[in-house]
Structures are given as C-alpha cells and as structure tokens.
C-alpha cells in the first residue's frame, strides 16, 4: 500500500505535491479533477496511482476550465472536492473561477494554483496571488511540505465554513520540495452527494449575480476575522525589533535562515493566510518594529498593502522591498538573493568569499527531443517536403515536448503563446501572409484546446497544415492518459476518442494519418498537404519513445544501432539535418552513436544516404 494512505500517525518524506494529496485525504476528499501541468503535475499523478484505493473519484479532465467546473459541481452536491493546475491553467479556468466565488460552495472546495517564478517549466511567471484578489476568495500560502499538507486540510474546513472556494497558492519550490511531513488521521468521506436545487444561488442570471456579489462580500468579511486569528499567520521572534520582516510562502525559509546565520535582530511576520490580509495584525506588527523588509517572490502585493498601512501608522518607517530596489519582481528567490539584499539593507557583508569563477565557457545544454522521439521524424519529414520553402515557412508551435523542435538542427518553432495557440495563430498567419504555415501540437493539447481552432479554420477558410503529434500520451508532464488513449484517470478502460473523427466532423477534407517511422510516407503526406488549397490535417502517430522502449525492453527486443566506420562517408546528414542527440561527431571527424543513450528507433538508418547505420545483434537490458 502507498504510504500516503497510511491510517497511522507517521513521519513521511513527501514531495510538496504528495503532501497536498495527503492533506486532502485527511480532510475526507471525495472528488478531484485536473489537467496536468508542471509544477502541479504530481498531484494528479498521485491520484492516478492511489485514487481508487483512497475511494476518491478522480479524473483527468480535458482542460483546467472543465476540471474546475466538474469539481465545482461536485462541491455543489455537498462533496469535498478539489482541482489543481499550474498558474497559466488558471487563465484557462478563470471564467468559471470568477463566478464560483459568487455562487459559493457547499462541500469544501480547494483550488491549488501552482505558480512558477523563474519559469522553470512555463511560458511566463505570472503571480496568481492576483487571482485571489480579483475573484475575492480566501488564499493560503504554504512554505514547506508540512504546511502544504496542513493548509490543504484546513483549506477544506475553511471553505465549508465560509461557503467559498479556497485557493492554495504554491510555487515550484514548494511543489517540488521533499521534506518531512507528520501525518494526521484520514478524514471521513461522504461518498455520493445530492444536489439540492437553489436557482437563486446557482443560476447566475444578472439579478441573482448581484445578490451573489453581496453574499460574497459578507462571506469575505467573515474570512477577514478568520485571517486575523489564523494559526498560519504568526510572528517568529528573531531576538529583537530592529528589522520587521513580512513574508509569505517559501520566501520565509530563506529569510529565517539568513537572519539566523547572520545574527540579524528582529522578527518575522510569517503570513500563511494572505487573502484577505490580516490588516489589524500587520498594523500591530508595523508599530512594533523600526524597519520593514517585505520579502515576496513576484509582484509587490504584500508590499503595496503594507505601504498603505504604514503611511498612516508610521510614515517615517523605512520599507525595504521591490520599490526600494532591494528585491526583484523577476525570478525565484534563494540564499543568494537574500545575501545580496540583506548586505545592502543592513550594511553587513554577507556575500560569500572567494566564490569560484569558472574560467572556461561551457557548451550549453538545453533540453532536447529524446533520441528516438517520433516528433523528430515528423519535423524532419515536414522540412524535407518544404525544400527551398523552409526558410520562408512559419512554424506555429504549442506547449509540450514538441516545442523542443525549436532546437538545432531542426529550428522549427517560430511562434508560441500558450496551450492551443499553434492552430489558432496559424489561421491568423495564413490570412495575414502568403507564407507557408504549419502548426504543430500534441494529442493531449489537441483535446485541451486544439479543437476550436479547427472549427475556426474551416469556418473562416484558413489555409495551413495542422499536424497533430499523436504520441499516445501526455508526455511532457509525465505520461498521463488523455481522451485518445482508452484509459481514464482511475486506470479504467475508457472510450477511445478518435482525433481523426473529430477533425472529420469539423469538416476538414484533407486528413492523413501516418506512422512517423515511415519517413517516406510522412514526407509524401506533407508534400500533398502543402499543395492542398484549404486546411490540411496530418496525424503523426507513434507512441512516445520512452514508453515504447520500456515495452521493447520487457519483451527482450531492445537493440541499439551503430555506424559502420568503413561505410560512413562522413557526410554528416545524420548530424546536421536529423540531429538525434545519440549521434555525435568525434574530434577526428568520424561519426558515432552513443549507445548508452540510443533508444533503438533505427530511423537514422533510413536517413543515412549511404546505408552505413546498422542494428546491433546483441539484445540490451
């Protein structure tokens, strides 16, 4: 049995995301829905693994908006329910999110927003603490794995008490920290819910919406009382009152460490419930210290609120933060940021001495498509079909592994905004220019937000080539199932939804489904598609190589490939146009395959003009 399901009180070593799952189980969670997105992905992966044993209904929904609405309905039936998403996922779900604040909830409803300061795996570093303010719902911000568990649990209780959704805002460094968590008891579940009708509350026509807004303000007035007394808002004494630090989330960890290490005297107001802000508590704190330091990754939200309060209470008090230039709105904080800021604030020299400076400039190592990745074959075939038109062609990319088509030697990503933008923007490019336009997006992203773009392109007569890279999984976020795969979020067999039928149903008259390992057929498909006078769809179908290798190894069929040095003419086609990371140019100009990373796809042998690449006899483990 998975440790997360333990009934005993135990000390576990959990990922922040696992701690969130444990917290929800201790709150008696019945219902969860999500679309995967890093840094929140492991929450869904964990439910996928243990959902059945935990008796939680769990689904991978087609996108974040769907997930939030599915979960909100369960909550309206009195079940404790949860949805979780990466920060930009909340942009997708925002429409529903704003109004569920008006209807309020019945069963406790927690929404996890996983922000990504520093853009570890995202297209922006937006600060979703704004969202709690726009929707005006309570927000909690954990600082470590233990709090991730505790705040999730309390989030459900708070939500039910206030009849409001509660947002738990995390950041990458919380989601992906692993730390000690002391578990509590598992909570009682409710099983099936019942929906009691109340149209004045749940049908948000304008007349009802106005009442809903009044109700929301009343509930948030109550939430403020909770925030002022919350166990999560507390003062940590650092032996003095000179410096008053106000902070939330993981920034607290860095602040407390540097104060302890450098002997900086003062106290820390550690805020865990950060909306509504406990203004009375903050005011008392401002009065009790000589100088203020506001430490928060992202936008100066705490800082602005503190400035407003300080202006009346103690107008002369120095406030160190982003406005003063001591901290940045950009990137992730850590020990280095603290040392630099506190050196300038306190006048102490906290910078590390003799930090080694590398003398050599190293080759960069950006992520790249894996050896054997089927997307490489697709890109290669499209490039070949474009011939001299390649430079002029516009490659409209999307969110997933295939964004890595941007890397050398493919150079096949020119435009990307968000999930689904490939196909929508391709329509715009095709109308605005006479350049060839090609959109690329994966199967899971197609179900997420790649369908309405097809309808739009057919309706408005856009002409471009739309490739759906169907690798039979949601690869980038860790191989979650999607509606095209025949498996659901509980691991049960599910109807396999055909991408081809959807596209056909939208009225597309050029649809070609090709196995990506057939390079010739792929190239032919692109030549035909580029010659087509309307939207042309290519479904490039082959399982993600990481999954395929696993099954080939299991079946005892895994073999790698090597280059016969006598047959190789060193033309470097395999390097300069194919670009598999397993193939490399040695210092003496010879070309080799690194067999420790070769995934055995063998396509390089088809690409080689001199047939110099051969499969090894030996079966590898």
């Amino acid at each position: 049995m998975n440790d997360l399901l333990t009934k005993e009180k135990k000390r576990l070593f959990l990922l922040g995301n696992e701690a969130i799952v444990r917290g929800s189980l201790e709150a008696g969670l019945d219902f969860a829905a999500c679309y995967p997105g890093t840094p929140s992905s492991e929450i869904g992966n964990t439910f996928f693994e243990i959902g059945k044993d935990a008796k939680v209904y769990f689904e991978f929904s087609t996108n974040e908006k769907v997930a939030l609405e599915v979960a909100a309905a369960a909550s309206a039936c009195g079940l404790r329910s949860m949805t979780f998403m990466k920060h930009v996922g909340l942009n997708v779900a925002a429409d529903a999110f704003m109004t569920v604040a008006y209807t309020g909830v019945r069963g406790g409803f927690v929404m996890i927003s996983a922000d990504d300061p520093g853009c570890h795996s995202s297209q922006n570093e937006q600060d979703n603490r704004y969202y709690a303010r726009i929707a005006n719902i309570p927000m909690l911000e954990p600082a470590n794995a233990q709090e991730a568990k505790d705040m999730t649990k309390v989030g459900f209780e708070l939500s039910e008490m206030l009849e409001l959704p509660v947002m738990v805002r995390t950041t990458t460094r919380l989601n992906h920290v692993r730390g000690i968590v002391h578990t509590g008891e598992l909570g009682p579940q409710r099983g099936k819910g019942k929906f009691d009708k109340d149209p004045r509350r749940f049908v948000t026509i304008p007349a009802h919406a106005r009442l809903g807004h009044i109700k929301l303000l009343e509930r948030m007035a109550k939430a403020l009382e909770v925030s002022e007394k919350s166990e999560f808002n507390k003062i940590v004494d650092m032996d003095g009152s000179e410096y008053g630090i106000i902070t939330s989330g993981v920034s607290y960890n860095y602040a407390v460490d540097i104060m302890a290490a450098a002997g900086i005297k003062g106290k820390i107001l550690k805020l865990g419930m950060t909306w509504p802000l406990p203004e009375a508590m903050i005011s008392d704190f401002i009065k009790s210290v000589d100088k203020l330091v506001i430490i928060e990754e992202g936008e100066p939200l705490l800082e602005n609120a503190v400035m407003v309060l300080a202006k009346d209470l103690k107008p002369e008090i120095p406030v160190y933060g982003k406005r003063s230039g001591h901290f940045s709105v950009m990137g992730e904080y850590g020990p280095d940021v603290m040392k630099s800021a506190f050196s300038r604030i306190t006048g102490m020299d906290l910078m590390p001495k003799d930090v080694p400076k590398p003398k050599q400039e190293l080759p960069v190592r950006p992520p790249s498509l894996c050896p054997g990745c089927p997307h490489r074959s697709t890109y290669y075939a499209a490039k070949r079909a474009l011939k001299q038109n390649f430079e002029n062609a516009i490659f409209s990319s999307d969110i997933g592994c295939y964004t890595l088509g941007i890397q050398e030697p493919l150079n096949m990503a020119d435009f990307l905004l968000c999930m689904g933008s490939s196909v929508d923007a391709a329509g715009g490019f095709s109308k605005a220019t006479d350049q060839p336009v090609l959109a690329f997006l994966g199967d899971s992203t197609f179900f997420h937000s790649g369908i309405h773009g097809v309808v739009n392109a057919v309706y408005n007569r856009h002409k471009f080539v739309y490739t759906i890279l169907d690798n039979r999984t949601t690869a980038m976020t860790g191989h979650q199932p999607n509606p095209g795969m025949g498996t659901d979020g509980r691991g049960d067999p599910a109807p396999m939804i055909s991408i081809e039928d959807i596209v056909k149903g939208c009225g597309v008259d050029f649809i070609r489904t090709v196995d990506t390992s057939d390079i010739k057929e792929m190239q032919k498909a692109y030549e035909d598609a580029l010659a087509h006078d309307k939207l042309a769809v290519i479904i490039a179908k082959r399982e993600c190589v990481l999954l395929e290798v696993r099954s080939r190894k299991k079946a005892g069929e895994f073999k790698t490939w090597q280059i016969n040095q006598e047959e190789c003419k060193k033309c470097q086609v395999c390097i300069k146009t194919w670009g598999c990371p397993a193939i490399f140019l040695a210092d003496d100009g010879t070309v080799h395959i690194n067999e420790s990373i070769c995934n055995g796809c063998g396509i390089c042998a088809k690409v080689c003009p001199f047939k110099a690449i051969h499969e090894n006899e030996e079966v590898r483990k």
């Binding site: 070593f13 990922l15 890093t38 992905s41 492991e42 570890h120 795996s121 600082a143 470590n144 794995a145 460094r173 992906h176 920290v177 692993r178 730390g179 000690i180 607290y252 960890n253 860095y254 407390v256 460490d257 850590g334 020990p335 280095d336 040392k339 590390p352 001495k353 003799d354 930090v355 080694p356 400076k357 590398p358 003398k359 050599q360 190293l362 080759p363 960069v364 190592r365 950006p366 992520p367 790249s368 894996c370 592994c401 890397q407 050398e408 980038m476 976020t477 860790g478 470097q572 390097i575 300069k576 670009g579 990371p581 490399f584 140019l585 690194n594 420790s596 990373i597 590898r620 483990k621």
Partner: protein
C-alpha cells in the same frame, strides 16, 4: 549540517540518487529537505537537485555553500563550480554526455582532465570515477547511479553510512535489478576508497 548539490543530465537518474541519499539521511535520524526538478528540464537538459541535511529551512544551496557536489557528468560538475568552496568534496562521473551543440559540431566538448584540474585548483577533494565502465561491469549502463552512490559512500564527507544507503537502495530499485545495483555500488565504493 551538510549541503549537497546533485547535478547531471535529464534521464541519468539524478532525482533517483538524490532520493536515496535523502531517505538514508532521514533513516539515520537527520532532518533533510530536498529540492527536485521536474518537467521540461528532464528532456536531456541540465538537472540540479539540492539536498540540505540538518537544521535549516531553505531547500536551496547558495553560491560557495556546497559541502558536496555530486555529479553524474563531468561538464555538469564543472558548471556547478560556483556552488563550491575550498573544502567542497566533488564526486563525479568521468563519462561525458555530449550536448547537441557539440554533437552537431558547433562547439567542442571541453577536455575533461582540464576541467578536473581547474576543480582541483579550488579543492583537492575530487573523486572522479568512470561510472559507465563500472556500471557495464556490474551488468548494465543503468546502474551508473549506483556506482556513483557507492563512490560517494566511500568518501569521508558523505553524511550517511554505507549501510543505510544500501538499505534504501535495496528497497527502491526494481527487485530484478537489486543484485546488479549492489554490485555497482560496491565497485564505486571500492574505487573511491582506492583513489
């Protein structure tokens, strides 16, 4: 308190080894926090995990703060140089994983001995082990991370005992590969003791 930076290339098992190390520290009664990397970087990019054993809140290691730099790839050991100080113990694999800019001939992979010499100018405590070779000797390339864990266990700076590391390793590798991984661990350990 021991601050450890674990670096390598996505797919090499950096996360796995970090987890073994942290779990072993916990099993010995230490506090531990660990920062992991998930998502896009795992696709052949640079992967860095930070482990802090002892009583601090931060899960990140600052410049010049690392007690141990544990590297699965020689160039990545060097890339982490700013985290080191004159007392840092390096344990690194000598087997390069060539990045695409190098394999396509746009840049040269630096001379590994040259990188190691520069590291030695900062700290004499460098353990460099041919993890791929020893892993093959143990049975498969996939045991390279066990070789490296063994090598780490063979240094005086390792914050956890060999026994605890082995105990955790046995528990979390796939049952069929236990024997192979234990052999790899011993080979790494023996190598580190000799060098």
């Amino acid at each position: 308190m021991t601050r450890i930076v674990v670096v390598g290339v996505g797919g090499q098992g950096v996360l796995f080894a970090s987890k073994v190390l942290s779990e072993a520290a916990l099993a010995e009664g230490h506090n531990a926090v660990m920062s992991e990397v998930h998502g896009m970087a795992q696709r052949g990019g640079v992967v860095m995990c930070n482990i802090c054993v002892g009583c601090i809140e931060s899960s990140l290691v600052g410049d010049g703060e690392a007690d141990i730099i544990f590297a699965f790839e020689p160039m990545e050991a060097y890339r982490a140089l700013a985290k080191a100080n004159k007392g840092t113990r390096f344990v690194t694999s000598t087997s390069p994983v060539v990045p695409v800019v190098v394999s396509i001939g746009k840049m040269k992979y630096p001379d590994v001995e040259g990188l190691f010499n520069e590291i030695r100018e900062i700290t004499p405590k460098l353990t460099a082990v041919n993890a791929d070779k020893l892993a093959l000797e143990a049975g498969s390339y996939v045991t390279a991370n066990s070789v490296l864990l063994g090598a780490l266990a063979g240094t005086a700076e390792c914050p956890v005992s060999k026994e605890k590391l082995l105990e955790v390793l046995k528990r979390i590798v796939p049952p069929k590969t236990v024997e192979m991984n234990l052999k790899a661990f011993e080979l790494g350990l023996k190598y580190a003791k000799r060098h």
